[in-house]
């Protein structure tokens, strides 16, 4: 069995997870990455997606995160999510609202750069919707 390490998932509103885990799959902006114990110190931004936590005692939990940061150190890992919910608690209306907001952001974008960023975000959200809704 792989070594356990400390994992925290925090959103501005509360601390969602703080426990010993075996591995965590983080949806990084540059691609998904699996963090295990003794990972090299890494800082990555997180895109909207599903974060999978494999607890040290067995059992897997999945959370939906909407952007944020991951701070990875050999002895632990912290994900600062802009907003995060457990997969079981996600509701379609909320997601639909977020997508609607993102669409409006794209429409309201004043310059090229913000539009690109907003479109990226919208794309990530719709991919996410496709990934979790049928489940």
């Amino acid at each position: 069995m792989a070594d356990a390490f400390k994992f925290d998932l925090v959103s501005p509103e509360r601390l969602l997870v703080s426990q010993e885990v075996e591995s965590v799959v983080i949806p990084g902006t540059e691609g998904e990455l699996t963090v295990m114990a003794n990972h090299a110190p890494t800082m990555t931004s997180v895109k909207p997606g599903v974060l999978t936590v494999k607890a040290a005692g067995g059992g897997t939990e999945r959370y939906v995160v909407f952007g944020g940061f991951a701070d990875i150190l050999p002895e632990g890992c912290t994900v600062l999510a802009e907003s995060a919910v457990h997969v079981d608690d996600i509701n379609r209306e909320d997601l639909a609202r977020r997508i609607q907001d993102a669409r409006e952001d794209v429409a309201d974008a004043e310059d090229h750069e913000t539009r690109l960023r907003a479109e990226d975000f919208l794309h990530q959200l719709t991919t996410l919707e496709g990934a979790i809704i049928p489940a």
Binding site: V10, G28, T29, P41, T42, M43, L80
Partner: protein, 294 residues
């Protein structure tokens, strides 16, 4: 001298007031507990955010720092974000914040700077409008918000950052009341743009290592993304502290109002009883002297 009937009415009305203040105090106490929990729940995020930010800021050299951190290099136009409560009846809570903001505005105006004010909450707006109506650019209404969420703070932050990007101000200061205890809230001014970053050494203690990070994407890109979030977090924290402070102040104010009403009832009851006694005595004297005259 008030008649017995007047006194009775007076006592009844003070009693009714006391009931209301008592109820308000209890409501405030319940809300305070919730507000405190919310403030505590938000703390881990803010702390870690500070640590991460310090780490990254140390990695990015001074020249690459995004403008939100470095500032515009000028000190001409100040934006003041004044956060107060939406409702009154909470002692000196709102006026304390407004007073601090007012002093700040006066001193900035005295130095010949341009001042813009963004009011969050109705009460601060009401007070500041009297003296600085032409400085207030807008107000954010949180009246319909039952529970302050990160979304609310994020919206304000986005607006502030949008204004900054358009070059509408150089320095942004946040006014709110720091929650110390239920009894004391300290009005605080905090500069959020240019962002002041906690010293890297503190962060190293907090995160347990001053490790050399790999950044994905590069450090500057992360920092550009991180700072707006940090501003939102600061505003969120201010709003939560304010919510807790408001309820604390309201509880204290309503507690003393209830006590004052109690004292008043006691005093009025004594007057009422004395007068009633005097009237009985008077009537007795009339009856006795009437009987003696026969």
């Amino acid at each position: 001298m008030a008649s017995l009937k007047d006194l009775r009415n007076r006592i009844a009305s003070v009693k009714a007031t006391q009931k209301i203040t008592k109820a308000m105090q209890m409501v405030a106490a319940a809300k305070l507990k919730r507000a405190q929990e919310a403030a505590e729940a938000a703390r881990p995020y803010a702390e870690r955010m500070g640590a991460v930010l310090a780490n990254i800021a140390a990695a990015v050299s001074g020249n690459d720092a995004p403008p939100l951190m470095a500032g515009t290099g000028k000190d001409e136009t100040h934006l003041l974000v004044v956060c107060t409560a939406e409702r009154g009846l909470c002692g000196g809570f709102n006026s304390q914040i407004a007073k601090l903001a007012r002093e700040h505005i006066r001193s900035l105006l005295g130095q010949g700077k341009t001042v813009k004010v963004l009011c969050v909450g109705k009460k601060g707006y009401d007070v500041l409008r009297r003296d600085f109506a032409q400085n207030i650019i807008d107000r954010v209404d949180l009246r319909d918000v039952k529970k302050i969420g990160f979304e609310n703070a994020n919206e304000i932050a986005r607006r502030v950052i949008g204004m900054f990007d358009k070059g509408e101000f150089d320095v942004c200061t946040l006014f709110y009341s720091e929650f110390q205890t239920v009894m004391s809230q300290i009005p605080t001014a905090q500069q959020i743009i240019p962002a002041s970053v906690p010293a890297a050494s503190d962060a190293a203690d907090a995160s347990g290592a001053d490790a050399v990070y790999e950044y994905e994407p590069d450090a500057a890109a992360i920092l550009t993304d991180l700072i707006p979030r940090n501003i939102a977090v600061q505003i969120f924290r201010a709003l939560l502290e304010n919510a807790a402070g408001e309820m604390g102040a309201k509880m204290t104010a309503m507690d003393s109002a209830t006590r004052n009403a109690g004292e008043m009832i006691d005093k009025l009851s004594i007057t009422y009883n004395r007068q009633r006694q005097a009237q009985i005595t008077k009537e007795l004297i009339e009856i006795i002297s009437g009987a003696e005259a026969l």
